[in-house]
Symmetry: C2
Subunit: 515 residues, 2 copies
């Protein structure tokens, strides 16, 4: 049966090499068969697991981190022989900056050193909708300022999410969902009667499809923050045995790890899985650390109590706000507590549904975004506007109906103007303003750059003083109206007139230089 | 010299009886002379201090708490003989409900039992402005929903407050204030060179004038929350000796205590007086408790750390918010901590000045008002809009320029619809709403009244369930647009459509009864 190994003769740096081997389809290849490969170049030697992809096909994937010649050798009991091969790794193409890494302690950069300023959104199961909806979502993302999207591998069962997904991750058949209503859906949680899934046999098409979506995101320059587990479940995927979970995690890692734009979010709301304990999450983390040779970013997202983001395997804090009123305002504290990048993956959603987490205004969302950025954190968006079709961006993608997202382009542009990489809270900021300075200049008495934000306050003017001589260019930014006014050059103690409106920012940068 | 004692032959209950005696003007009557009186009716025998009012005139004031015949006897070394007299106390006139007391632990009522729902404002030195400005302020107050105003006895030196007051509390002359600018005023604090005040000799006209203002407020049904000390000073009144302070406190008590609408606020921002310690404040409190026979309400207001509101002499918490973001949202906690009424005397001011405490929007002010009320607290307003004359309501009174105050009439009307007296936080309120129930029904599983508030959130609908049978009348309140919609009668589990806008409230009351 085994007849050949297929692979590309060239692949770009941080691209995806895939070796396709024919093997046996007999028995349960997902549990009984193993395929691995070692990829060797001048600068690295990487051992990876492959996976069974159905129809007797096995695949091994690899992301090279260096240019030049690589060899590989495929082994295993998958029913084929030990294949060997050779390929060339070419320089990355335009727009390929490699995977995102933590840089400068609280920030991110692509592996090629380009700063990455995260502006995220959440669409939990956008990729499990119809082709038309997916195309619409991608069109929306293309025009957006988002460079990260959080979504789930498993389908989602929740308010506004009672429909069937386009596919299931396992072989089998789901319960009859026609019995579900907005009133009774809460009674169907975890493993519900009527579901017949074989949790030892994956449905490769489900994963194939997600891979296509990850690639589409990659083309748009968007990171795929994969939520590998979540509790909003009626099929039983949230309460598998430890062995079934391990099988799943290994399969996920073998399939997705070689995509450069993948991040691992262990869970959405880890703390509301009734069956899982901290030791379970630590176990999954061990699998990732062992099986992801590329060290993609790793996080775990809370409902109420934070996971201990100090854990060494956690690369950044993925935060859901814990207080109805204060959210992004706490970024300073979280930075100090965890000494890692702070990503606000859920600071409530712009919308008008009944739930308090899903009905803030565009103004409030934008305010939270600026509060986060001017404290050295990274904000995340979501949208939950009611409509007749119950198509809410937060879960299904589609089109955006809100107001905040239109203002994120300007914010991202301002973020990208940061000297060095990353903003830090200004230690001499007064109690009634937020101010960020370059992380790299934290220890300098006078900085080259200050970004002030006045939140819901409405000062008619503000006074500034840094030193007597340095000349600063001042811009006044109406973050809501998206207007940037150049106010000229100042030094010493100076006063800037402001319009007495909410949501104003002031950018002050050292004049005459590419600060 | 002494020739007669003058007093009214009748006075209404909680009215002000005053015995005027001629005495000596020689020496320093403020420190060397003493006049006291005992007032005796069927139900009370009250001993009070009088005071020297200049020009050889001494006055003793008394507020009767009962109807019927009273006698009095004036004594002292003021240079007159021991006068006696008799007068009748008639029933209170319409609108005279007596002084405000703490009632129902967390709330207030007038002494005649009428609930008092405090809706305050702050105009620190409105009464020390020109006659025209004072008249304008009273006109504004007359049309307003305010039933309490905080103001100072001493003049105020601060940003936007550099002018001279209409009078000084002591004999003497102030420093030349023409040297003051917006830039240098901070260098003139406490006792500044150039001031020549005799801190042992009061200026009776200063106090007379304040008394006329207190009476004007009384006519409007407004409580006078007198700030007896404050730190915003260039004349030295904030840093007198302990003996001078005691003289002042005794004088203030002798003059003002018999006005039924007086409250004692020991200080504005007690914690930023450089010279005063907790023992000083405790000392003033002892003087009040000893010398105010009517037990007017007593509080002390913070800048940053709260005074220990558990102190037995403190009748209610007078709170300045400690956090830029959370203010009224903390009323529940403060109620539980201090077990007293919570009055938010400073939750930032609506306006557009440069300071963060003085530039929130009307929407945010109104939101804080409703948050406070629906948590069982009492909100306070202030306004700081820039204008060419630097006449800011917060200090000078005058006209209101903001938007929030127009919406307080509706809020006060809703407050007055509370069954019993006072609202309490609803213990079964969900995380994304604020709800108040009658304080008196806290222990009942099902209440007769629920007042929900949705703050900045924008639900399109909400569902309610109390029990299966009780019928409830539902009103939807747009707190900003000031529209109240009657939505009819519901029972069991029911759903109320909402407009998906911020600042909505829902009033749910048991149908068919004068709840």
């Amino acid at each position: 049966m085994q007849s050949r190994a297929v692979y590309q003769k060239t692949v770009e740096k941080w691209g995806l090499q895939e070796v396709v081997c024919e093997g046996t389809a007999q028995g349960n290849p997902f549990t009984e068969r193993r395929i691995t490969a070692v990829f060797t170049g001048k600068n690295e030697c990487v051992s990876v697991d492959g996976f069974y992809d159905g129809d007797g096909i096995y695949r091994v994937r690899f992301m090279p981190s260096f240019e030049g010649s690589y060899t590989f050798r495929v082994e295993g009991n998958y029913g084929g022989e030990a294949w060997e091969g050779r390929f060339e790794v070419t320089p990355p193409s335009a727009g390929n900056h490699g995977p995102v890494r933590v840089a400068n302690r609280y920030h991110f950069a692509y592996e090629d050193g380009t700063p990455y300023y995260s502006v995220g959104t959440t669409c939990y199961v956008w990729e499990l909708q119809s082709d038309e909806r997916i195309a619409e979502t991608l069109e929306t993302l293309k025009d957006s300022a988002f460079n990260k999207i959080r979504f789930c591998i498993f389908p989602k069962h929740y308010d506004y999410n009672l429909g069937e997904p386009r596919s299931y991750p396992y072989e089998g058949t789901p319960m009859d969902s026609s019995v579900l209503t907005k009133e009774n859906f809460n009674e169907y949680t975890g493993k519900t009667e009527g579901n017949h899934f074989d949790l030892s046999r994956f449905n490769p098409e489900h994963f194939h499809h997600i891979e296509r979506c990850i690639l589409k995101l990659q083309e748009l320059g968007i990171e795929a923050d994969l939520i590998v587990m979540h509790p909003y479940d009626r099929w039983g995927f949230s309460c598998m045995t430890r062995e079934q979970d391990a099988l799943y995690w290994n399969y996920v890692l073998a399939r997705f790890a070689a995509y450069r734009n993948v991040w691992w979010s262990l869970a959405n709301e880890y703390d509301i899985f009734p069956q899982k304990k901290i030791e379970d999450w630590e176990g999954y983390a061990r699998i990732i650390c062992e099986k992801d040779p590329y060290n993609h970013l790793r996080s775990i997202h809370n409902c109420m109590p934070f996971y201990d983001h100090r854990r060494p395997w956690i690369t950044h804090c993925s935060i859901q706000r814990q207080d109805l009123y204060k959210s992004a305002e706490l970024v300073n504290e979280w930075r100090e507590t965890y000494r890692k990048p702070v990503v606000l993956d859920e600071i409530a959603y712009e919308g008008n549904i009944q739930h308090g987490w899903g009905n803030i205004s565009g103004e409030e969302m934008l305010r939270r975004f600026w509060e986060a950025v001017c404290r050295g954190g990274y904000p995340g968006h979501g949208e939950t506007y009611m409509n007749e079709e119950d198509v809410l961006w937060w879960s299904h993608g589609g089109r955006l109906h809100g107001e905040s997202h239109k203002r994120f382009h300007l914010l991202r542009q301002i973020m990208e103007e940061t000297p060095g990489s990353g903003l830090a809270p200004y230690e001499r900021c007064s109690w009634d303003e937020v101010c960020a300075v370059p992380e790299t200049e934290c220890m300098q008495p006078v900085k080259s750059y200050y970004l002030y934000y006045y939140s819901f306050m409405r000062p008619s003017f503000r006074e500034y003083y840094f030193d007597d001589t340095t000349e600063y260019e001042v811009k006044v930014i109406d973050t809501w109206e998206m207007k940037v006014e150049n106010r000229g050059i100042y030094h010493g103690k100076f006063r800037i007139e402001l319009p007495g409106k909410s949501y104003m920012a002031v950018q002050i940068r050292k004049a005459g230089g590419s600060v």
